[in-house]
């Protein structure tokens, strides 16, 4: 028997098939958001005496049901919140904080370690406003930490954190971790939420 050459398959419709698959994946793709604001909830403890904190060391932020912002008993716009919080945290009123750049106002916080931001919201507050306020307060802490890291190590705090998480970063990670810890101790995030 004579061998016949196999007939060639027409590849002209390959593009159509590929298009079909492409459109399927285009439609089903949802680029997942996997980033957000990390927070830690306080554990439930029974009958714990609330610590006595001086009024001047508390920065009260109140969000009412109409999404209005009341900071230290004064109405404030969201865009001014970050600056106000930074000023409060960086005040260094009792002079023990040698790295603070604040005004050293004796009416405001003593030390970044003692300064507490207290956030209260009502049940009717919308989530987006709450997130916006949380974001601004975290930003205030991050700004201060960035300035401090820049002064100490010549890099911003966020950059150092990114380096820590980067597998390919060539530097000494234990040292970097210690440096980050030091900044975190100097500007601890003390953000308390009032339970309602």
């Amino acid at each position: 028997m004579a061998k016949r050459a196999a007939p060639e398959v027409n590849a002209g419709s390959m593009a159509d098939i590929a298009f079909l698959l492409l459109i399927f994946f285009l439609v089903t793709t949802t680029i997942e958001t996997d980033s957000g604001l990390n927070r830690k909830l306080p554990p439930i403890e029974d009958n714990v005496e609330p610590p006595i904190i001086k009024q001047k060391n508390i920065f009260t932020v109140l969000l009412n049901g109409k999404d209005q912002l009341l900071v230290e008993d004064e109405l404030m716009e969201l865009k001014d919140l970050r600056k106000a919080a930074t000023e409060f945290l960086d005040n260094g009123g009792d002079g023990t904080c040698d790295y603070c750049n604040g005004k050293k106002n004796s009416e405001s916080s003593d030390n970044p370690d003692k300064a507490i931001i207290s956030l209260k919201n009502e049940r009717e507050t919308t989530y987006k406003t709450y997130i916006a306020v949380q974001n601004e307060l975290v930003a205030a802490y991050n700004d201060l930490r960035n300035i401090r890291a820049q002064a100490l190590y010549g890099k911003s705090f966020l950059e150092m954190e990114a380096n820590l998480n980067d597998v390919n970063w060539p530097g000494d990670k234990t040292k970097l971790k210690d440096q980050l810890e030091k900044i975190k101790i100097e500007y601890p995030q003390k953000l308390s939420e009032v339970q309602n």
Binding site: T29, I31, N38, L41, P43, N135
Partner: protein
């Protein structure tokens, strides 16, 4: 001059489409790789708010998702109030404890302290419900939470 006249009469040669499948395949592979299939079918509107001080949530297998929002158009018979969704169905605040317990049971024991709860909440939800969820999470000692947001400037977007 005769040379130019001759050219005018000629037709444009057809562009070869032989490389079209290659181009399409390239796009196809990109989308195949980039696609993350949704874990849960959402029955609620889930338009996340914006924030710019975000941290990345890595280790996807160590995240428990709690969704909340208004029932979407197909599920209007459940009302228009903000509801919680766990896995594939609507749930109540009281179901959260059981949900967390089930999630914990499905993970290896040494990983349990690293579990994070991601709250994917619609931006128009009100804080009452979130407060209830947080209280419930505190009761079961699931203290690490993450408010999942889109990345973007706060002022102007929200």
């Amino acid at each position: 001059m005769a040379k130019f006249k001759k050219k005018q009469g000629g037709e444009m040669p057809a562009i070869s489409t032989a490389s079209l499948p290659d181009i399409v395949f390239m796009l196809l592979f990109f989308f195949m790789v980039a696609t993350v299939m949704r874990q849960n079918t959402l029955k609620i509107e889930n338009n996340l708010p914006f924030a710019d001080q975000v941290e990345k949530l890595d280790k996807k297998d160590l995240v428990m998702y709690i969704y909340a929002g208004k029932p979407s158009a197909n599920y209007r018979n459940y009302g228009t109030e903000t509801r919680i969704q766990l896995n594939d169905d609507f749930a109540d605040v009281n179901d959260i404890a059981a949900f967390i317990a089930a999630e914990r049971a499905s993970k290896r024991e040494e990983l349990i302290p690293f579990l994070t709860t991601a709250l994917k909440v619609d931006k128009d939800a009100n804080m009452g419900l979130i407060g209830d969820i947080k209280q419930e999470l505190r009761k079961v000692n699931a203290l690490k939470i993450n408010y999942t947001t889109k990345k973007g400037a706060v002022i102007g977007n929200n």
